[in-house]
Amino acid sequence: MDPITFSIIRHRLFRVVEEAVITLKHVSGSAITNEGHDLMVSLYRADGSLLMGGVGFLHHLTSASEACKAIIRRFEGDIEEGDIFLLNDPYTAALHTSDIYLVSPIHHEGRLIAWSACFVHVFDIGAMNPGGFAPDAQDIFTEGFSSPGIKVVSRGRLRQDVWDTILNMVRGPEMVALDLRSMIACNNVARERMLALVQKYGVETVDEACRLLIEQSERRLRERLTELPDGRWQSRQYLEAKGETYRVVLTMTKEADRLIFDFTGSSPQSPYSVNCTKWASLGGLFAPLFPLLCYDIVWNEGVIKPITMIAPEGSIVNCTRPAPVSVATVGAIQSVNNAACATIGKLLAASERYAEEATSVWHANHFAIFMFGRNQRGGLSIGILTETFAGAGGARTFADGVDVGGEIPNPISRMANVETIEATFPIRYLFRRRLVDSGGPGLYRGGTGMELAIVPHDAPDGGLHYVISGKGAKFPQSDGLGGGLPGAPNDYVWVHTPAEGADAGRFALALDAMPGEKQPVAWGVYPLMGKDGLYVRWNGGGGIGDPLAREPAAVAKDVVTGAVSTEAAAAVYGVELAGTAVDVAGTERRRTAARRWRLGREAAE
């Protein structure tokens, strides 16, 4: 095929996906879709293999492929032009029930030529807890409506009975209807644009370009893998749920032009909803792999072929039905994201040529906090605290991580303004700022995370409640690389303020200044009522290299800009400051002593 036509078709395929994403955001109009970019749209070939992955939550690219394949198997002989199928069963393909896939066959002159698929995190799915994350769930049956495949639109006509049934099972059916409508519109746009492409260039030419695109991606990834050293790298993530500790253990082996991700050694599945299914684990390891190894390669089936995953059945990364999984996306899947990021980082850092592509772990812990209750205008508000999307960048081998720089698996997220949230929920922020000492120390420091505190404000019912499935408080999970330290862990603190003396904390600027008992919370439903406060802090990115090798002036600057405390500058970086300047001699003494301590030749301070 001539390179010009190929180049144009490739760009057009990409635009098809982009345009469908815009449709999704436009029609939905919800905060989580528009601010958090918690969405995905991709194109698949006729057999369901990934053709063109869009920028969104990347752990969905392979799972939606499996969703297409599951529909092909289940509905063989009954897949017709204009159909749209819904699938959200995690044991079939989905990540958790609230991330609904709508997949749509694309026919040209009666022949199936491709699929489009998309997801949004719907407003509610009818699980035990509102909003989709259900820490109280004991099995998949209590995590809301789930379907291994159902036809929602048949030959272009909405199946009203199906529609009504789904909406009958969820809270806020109008909002869920809007989410579903946005996904239908998105698939329709993808189909129209794909057909326009086929009309212009011919079905054979487009098909040939698609095949070549996949071949090319596979060849390029295999070439890249061949350039990287062979070896075996490990990562271990601890995660907690309801007081229990779980391990996700990964051994990544690179041999010639193949990569094998082996999760043998990970914990058995949990009775709590942090588990994930094997499709979710597969998606979880690809989410960092696409941007870290394939930043200049089209994300399609060709990238998937050189990769193998081993996930023991019955483990937390390949749980068996009916284990609950609703918290998976911020639970085991995120640990898989982190572990894969860590081992890929080690692989890249082992190569002269690719060292600058290495990164330590970014934003290792989402905190899914869904607030719900009556707002200041008397209506019902349910919504996620979008700060969960404001993660921290991991350090690079040439620079610090980006403070509050986001995350790798969802490259273009953002958080809402304080004013937007205060106008939507009956709460008031006391502060929201970077968290000092949260970035993992190193030669290059991990980016900082943040901290915030909220209190009820003008709430007709005296406050709100929130569902929290927050991990990452007991264990730091943003691992460092090559001697870098991990980013600081999260904290979720319920501050019970006594009625008397409550005014002392009305304008508190730090957790310490908030009077009352401070109770760490992580799992379940809690009140933010009356004089309660909620304090949340979240992890920084991991560091890279020895903190004692960091440029002392860079440490001094971190202290001035509030990223690092004077105490940490001395204790971790060995930097002594005189005011805001580096005390050179004092720093030298301190660093020498610290190195001696590491060798057991000097007592700890």
Partner: protein, 704 residues
Amino acid sequence: MASPSRTYMVATDVGGTCTDTIVFADGEPVRLGKSLSTPPNFADGVLDSIRDAARSMGMTLEDLLARTKLFVHGSTVVDNTVLTRDGARTGLITTAGFEDTLLVTRGAYGRWSGLSEDRIKHPVRTERAPALVDADRIVGVAERTDYKGAVLLPLEEAEAERAVRALLDKGVEAIAVAFLWSFYNPRNEQMVRDVARRLAPDVYCTLSSDLAPVPGEYERTSTTVINAYAGRITRAYLDSLSRLLVATGYDGPLMVMQGYGGLLPAAEAAERSIGMLECGPAAGVIGSRALGRLLDQPDVIATDMGGTTFKVSVIQNGEIEYAREPMVDRFHYAQPKIEVVSIGAGGGSIVSLEPGSGAPRVGPRSAGSRPGPVCYGLGGTEPTLTDVFMLIGYMDPGTFLGGSMRLDREGAKRAFDEKIARPLGLSTEEAAFGVYRVACAQITDLIHEITVERGLDPRDFTLHAFGGSCGMVAGIFGAELNVKRLVIPYTASVNCAFGLVSADIVHEYSTTRVLPAGTPAEDVNAIYAPMVARALKDLAAEGFAGDRVGLEWSVDLRYMRQVHEVQTPVRAATPLDTAGMERLVGDFEALYERKYGKGSAYREAGIEMTMFRLTARGLMERPRLEPAAPGGSDASAALTGRRPIFVEAAGGFRDADIYDFGRLAPGNVVRGPAVIHTPITTIVVQAGQRGTIDPYRNVIVDFD
């Protein structure tokens, strides 16, 4: 010295590369002037450019200015200040507890926004741009206002003084003040300004509640900081330009273009530097709108292809689209700004083969004007789109810039063969055709993005092609998009300057209030009353009253629980009555569905109004363009020869007629394939297309 005949209107636009001038007088031909921009002393280039125009009129600079009644100006000075980080040492005072709002940019938003898709997919190599204010020059103060404007914690004067002194101790020259919810209640912010004026009258102080009274503290803070940062340079620039003009003989008003497409008197513009951001491209859109009105075709896709970028904007029924999330460099700001979308595809864009895939691509890197395309012979070694235009026969090596610069065809061919054609395994011609088609496809996709993807059908639009290179590609993408017709305007090379003289004085006012759609009309009128009074007062001070004043109301509405707000013009008579309110809501619903698609509205949740805007115009005098009487269609008098050019429909070279624009007369018709050379631009009429010279000397291209 002032002669009685002050007849001229002069407009000068300072762009990144060139400074363009256009001169009008009733009954006289339009005159153009061009010179290189002269950063950082842009005012020098302004005089050079006017001098160039004066020369073509047989006048001196001083003569022309002495006979000028109005001078209109647009300048890239503020963009330049931000891009080169050349602004004032700025401090920020904000609500304690929220000192990092500016620095953390709503999370990753500031890391990825403004980046191309390729770079977004490569997050390890992305950074947030360092803020214009260093972290240690941000001071929090104890104060708090809530979501309804109630002051929960009044700012103490001593606290304000402490903050101002802390910044003065760090040597700041400008102070930005941005507090939570200040747009509902500016009292606390105003106290800081009072204190700053008392302690340091020379320090440039900007309040967010003055500048951007809109919700969203990150964008509001960023806006305020940019304004403070660029404020002094802007003021100094406009002051020095005024002085220079006066010293050169001009004795009239100086009007300055704003990014929202309106003019402000220089004294006011100096206090709102943020308003001048991207004012050049905005003027271009205003120019396009004026041309659309003149030609009675108010639906326009305006495209502009210069050396480094291809820009496009859409005008629908004379109405202009505003950017949703304006940015300068990598910084967000909240100000009304005309939407102009761009990609890195211009004449200087470098053509390369993508590593790995070997697919040809155009841009985003640019050879700029130095070293420039290979064919310029100024040391460029990487083939550019301009080199491709030459290889496919569109540019004539002998007539470039009126023959003042000889182009090196052989050098361009050598470089292109070595870097592109040979690796692709194609002949020079095949590869050059291919690259040309790739560039056209990228542009088509971009225009598709801002029309079809927003519910607009290009078939309803006329396409305007501005800039030096646009006339060589518009025939292709215009045909693929199926637009009604192409217009290559006579002023194509100085479009922004043309826009300057087509603009009005415009003041924008807004009030943020969240009210349900069923709110009685008198409550809405009560919100407008003080804005209207202020607008009339402001315009009166500038000499506008009576029928030279235009007031336009518009309201932002949204469906509750959805995030998209739609600015909806009030079409009913104002002040509003009940029927007018109903019409407003109906118009909103129709606009929403058009923008966001069928089924996108969640009506059950209800509709609310979130912002009330007033646009106040002081209507400026327009130059009258005299149409020439059209002559016959025979264009043979302008025919200079024939040569082979790439013809898309034929897929290869075909002989084409070559015309000299200077000798084409209104009414002449040129049948494609043909090339029309003007001193600055080249227009390619593809096979199956027909170019007509209209009475204003625009080239109108119709498709058979």
